[in-house]
């Protein structure tokens, strides 16, 4: 039964060829979130030594080629890959990746400069995505995209280098951040 669900998810992901929301999987396969979560764990382990990998990003999952075979697939790729990141992009991306999403006010606050242009450029490149903040519908949160995780060769943000080491540090350091930036956000157009 559960095994069956795992193969169903795999088939759906393969057919779609793009990220799918877990909520959508629940509805489509008529099962609970718990069952989905369990099946995903099983699928991940089934795919652990294969040519295809499961990538997770927030509430979405997708399939991609395994990062270890990157150079093989890169030769087959027709479109040009842009592997350049400016200093401003690196700073902005590290905040978004390691904080698991950030508002523009927070990014501006940490960087000490206006980041709207950098964010737009990263968004055009598909490396970050702008979504409404679930906690505050008046503001936007920038989140890492699948494209970003793919370029980093990680199956989820937890696989980022130093992720667990710095997570706690960030938690402590950014405790006041939300309070501080809320004051600023109210006065901004964005």
């Amino acid at each position: 039964m559960n095994n069956n669900l795992e193969t169903k998810i795999e088939a759906v992901l393969f057919f779609k060829g793009e990220p799918i929301n877990l909520k959508k999987l629940e509805v489509l396969l008529k099962v609970s979130r718990e069952e989905i979560a369990e099946a995903i764990i099983a699928l991940k382990s089934s795919l652990s030594n294969r040519g295809v990998a499961l990538v997770e990003n927030g509430d979405e999952i997708t399939l991609g080629t395994t990062p270890e075979l990157s150079s093989l697939i890169e030769d087959l790729q027709k479109e040009e890959l842009n592997k350049e990141l400016s200093k401003a992009s690196l700073e902005t991306l590290s905040i978004i990746l390691y904080r698991g999403g950030a508002s523009r006010a927070e990014i501006d606050y940490i960087r000490g400069v206006n980041s709207s242009f950098t964010l737009r450029a990263l968004s055009v490149r598909g490396l970050v995505e702008k979504t409404l903040d679930p906690k505050d519908s008046r503001r936007y949160i920038y989140k890492p995209s699948f494209e970003m995780l793919s370029y980093m060769g990680v199956r989820s943000v937890e696989e980022l280098p130093d992720y667990f080491g710095v997570n706690n540090e960030i938690e402590v350091a950014t405790k006041n951040l939300e309070e501080e930036t809320k004051k600023v956000a109210g006065e901004e157009a964005n």
Partner: protein, 260 residues
């Protein structure tokens, strides 16, 4: 002197934190109010040499400069009274700088990893279904509305956050008031210092007088920096145009600026 050996590459920094961190690291210090006071003069020297920066950049450098001035004044004259807002500014500068340092370090991780081992999504499959499936939302009128909405939402130019504009406009005022406060506090400190061993007293006064002179230089340099920037932005108009006006007007201008 040690400070003279610093080779600061003008315009090598997008924002003030990169510069500050660089100055602190060159002196092999950690982020603290003490190290910030130490690098204040280097920072202000950079500010004076700065040229060709965009108004938005100038503003972020100035905001930090004003906080550094407070830190430096306080370190020279511990008796200088600070408002709770000013103390907050100092604390938050340290905090922001630590955060910035952390994320710059993590940015290094991204730099070394990005694009090295890529996970590829499948290519677009060629044999797409060749059926035509429109949607009743597509009409001549709706398409025109959609395209005009998209065009309307393109940002025209990068603008400055409102808060920083106001801070920039008041920095000239702040320098003036700071000079006054230091002088007042210095007279009081004279009495405080009177009974103590006299050697450091004169030295200290010399340092403080030097600092006051520097404040005046910064004020001049700041005006130069702003005048050198490209025209067409409200900040230069404000700063070059003379005395500062009340905040209400500035906010209005900022909003206009955003919506242009």
């Amino acid at each position: 002197m040690e400070t003279d050996t610093y080779q600061i590459k003008v315009s090598g920094f997008e924002g003030p934190f990169g510069l500050l961190l660089d100055l602190i690291e060159k002196r092999k210090l950690h982020i603290s109010d003490v190290s910030l006071a130490d690098v204040t003069e280097d920072y202000l020297k950079y500010m004076r040499e700065i040229g060709g920066l965009k108004p938005a950049q100038v503003s972020s450098f100035l905001v930090v400069a004003s906080t550094l001035l407070l830190i430096k004044s306080k370190s020279l004259l511990p008796s200088l009274p600070l408002t709770s807002d000013e103390e907050g500014d100092i604390k938050s500068l340290e905090e922001r700088l630590r955060l910035y340092e952390l994320f710059t370090r993590l940015g290094g991780n991204i730099k070394t990893t990005f694009g090295k081992q890529i996970i590829f999504a499948p290519e677009e499959r060629r044999q797409g279904i060749v059926v035509f499936l429109p949607d009743e939302q597509i009409t001549r009128e709706s398409m025109m509305v959609f395209v005009k909405d998209v065009l309307g939402s393109i940002p025209k130019k990068t603008f400055m956050p409102g808060v920083e504009v106001r801070k920039v406009i008041s920095i000239e005022e702040m320098i003036e008031s700071l000079s006054g406060r230091i002088q007042t506090s210095l007279k009081m400190s004279f009495r405080d210092l009177h009974g103590q061993a006299g050697t450091s007293k004169e030295e200290k006064v010399v340092v403080i007088v030097g600092f006051l002179a520097m404040l005046e230089l910064v004020r001049q340099g700041l005006i130069d920096a702003i005048q050198e920037s490209h025209n067409g932005d409200i900040i230069m108009e404000k700063m070059a145009g003379g005395p500062v006006q009340e905040t209400g007007t500035n906010e209005e201008l900022t909003t206009e600026n955003n919506e242009q």
